[in-house]
């Protein structure tokens, strides 16, 4: 029984638990877990899709650059929600614990737990990349704010007449 087969057999279970764990960080997560339509349930749908993709990449030991699209799918959402940076990122880490737990519970495969070093290292890389992604998202957000102020969309409402602002500048 090799590790690759272990991952294959338990993929669904691990990813499900991972998704469940990640969604449990929301106040009212029942619906996020249950609804499968990605358009009716964007948080749940995107997180499920992205974690599934990311898991395959982690298992395969893919180039960390490939982690970026699924990470962005998750982190762009969590970066604008009510999480501290560590909270936004940390559910990614959980897959290490979940995988150990799942393998350990499977008597035939419990010895695989000792072979998880590479996988866990890949998770570490993904978590680090997620921090970069988090910062990128925040920076993009600030840029959006600045752009809005600059283009004048922010003076659609709530501001003085431009000629008055000009004379104030003089």
């Amino acid at each position: 029984m090799d590790l690759a087969e272990g991952f294959r057999n338990h993929r669904e279970k691990i990813v499900n638990k991972w998704v469940e764990y990640t969604l449990s960080t929301y106040l009212s997560s029942g619906f996020f877990l249950k609804e499968n339509d990605k358009f009716a349930n964007p948080v749940g749908g995107n997180i499920r899709e992205a974690l599934g993709r990311l898991f395959l990449l982690l298992v395969k030991g893919a180039d960390p650059k490939e982690f970026i699209p699924p990470l962005e799918q998750i982190i762009s959402i969590r970066a604008v929600q009510e999480f501290a940076p560590s909270q936004a990122v940390s559910p990614l880490n959980a897959v290490k614990h979940i995988t150990r737990e799942v393998f350990a519970a499977d008597k035939e495969r419990s010895q695989l737990v000792n072979e998880l070093y590479d996988f866990e290292f890949a998770v570490d890389l993904a978590v680090l990349a997620a921090f970069d992604m988090y910062m990128q998202c925040r920076e993009r957000l600030y840029q959006v704010r600045i752009n809005e102020i600059r283009t004048g969309n922010h003076i659609l409402a709530g501001s003085r007449c431009p000629s008055q602002m000009l004379s104030a500048e003089k």
Binding site: S90, L141, L156, S159
Partner: protein, 542 residues
Amino acid sequence: MAVPKLQQLAKSVVQGPSLATGAIPTRDWMDIPVVFKSGNYAYPAKKEKVEYLNSQSGLHFPNAREWSPEDDDWKLPEDWKEIILKGLKERLDKFRSLKIFMDCCVRCGACADKCHFFLGTGDPKNMPVLRAELLRSVYRNDFTLAGKILGKMAGAREMTVGVLKEWFMYSYQCTECRRCSVFCPYGIDTAEITMMLRELLHLVGVGINWILEPASNSNRTGNHMGLQPHTFKDNVEFLLDDVENLTGIRPNISFNRKGAEVLFITPSADVFAEPGLYTAMGYMLLFEAIGLDYTWSTYASEGGNFGLFTNNETMKKLNAKMYAEAKRLGVKYILGGECGHMWRVLHQYMDTMNGPADFLEKPVSPITGTVFENAASTKMVHISEFTADLIKHGKLKFDKSRNSHVKATFHDSCNTSRAMGLLDEPRYILDHVVDWVEMPENTIREQTFCCGSGTGLNTDEIMELRMRSGLPRANAVKYVHEKHGVNMLACVCAIDRATLTSLMNYWNPGVSVCGLTELVANALVVEGETRGELEEGLRTML
């Protein structure tokens, strides 16, 4: 070993303070107090704006003062509770719909997962049913027998300062988009409950600046920005220069012209902020192409009605201003530009508030002879109805290849789709002028998702909140962007043009936002034009 570690991880993740609510709902939702922190509330209205509004005839905005939602003491009037309960009683007597909405919810939950604020935050108090419950619980306590006797067991609770703060938090996390009402078997319109919450809050001086300042500007100079007539005129004329440079055609325009057939009113955003500018250029080119006898007004220089987001008196007054100007100028009827809430006010409330507009005529298209029976009472026609009718009668000539740089999708604005039923005209127009695709079915037409920043929430201090509430919309755009290469999100609302731009810049860089009439004008072939190859249509920099 692994299991306790995971629990520890979960603990550190889940139990951190939550920015919006400050707590996890381990207790009954009623017992969880709201916590205001920088970033989760819009700034309160400036004292002088409230004072000004309160000084105006017919308007009531008491308790002007400096205050902050973060302070414990909101400096409410001493008898604030009596004011609120009396205000609620008055409204229950005045609006039968409110009484019905308070009584008939069966808590079936059909609306619960339909709100973009809930979908973006996972906060249960953003479920429409709970949002309504914020008011309903007080209603039960003071206005129903069961509530008076059974209290909390009957879902009743006393009006306290904590409840009032909760009202403020959650009535400004609702864009009054009415998506929830589409799914409610009883037709309960949570948007109207939010409107009541906001009205009641204004009675004790609790409101936000992003709404009250534009409302006061509109009352004073006629538009949100507070632009005076000469500035408004200058802005429109700048756009005229641009149209001329691009197409070789200088449209004839006029301001405040008595005896014009049609008064044209659009959101002021169209004449001074990107990307609305291009839509405004589009209007002028279109009207020139058909030789419409129309005038702009520098007084009714705003279609938007921020009164809708405050109270019914202010909404009525700002709506009346358009009709007063139509009367003064002696036009036959009003043609309205691409706006959201202008049309909501017009379609749902104008007739009862200010109608019927008997001094105007039933709108007839001077080009096709079509009688707009649907506008027989309000005397105001939507630019998309008007344009679709022109196309249907073969009055416009298009070269679709002029929009070949665009692959569009269409965002149904909440107001025009759900509050007005304008669903097919924009699509009919798109079919004729551009290559476009629909977003997924459960995100368009009546089920459209809000931009997330409507009802005066388009202010930058709550940008994160806007990005989360706009996620469902952005998520559907992302899908067509990735699948079909969509690079343009078309809409018929000025607030959308501003807010969707920010939303796209965050979620889907590479997708721009435009008004429908911009696409019409891009493709329009006008007699006498000397237009060269415009790679980006009216946006081309020469």
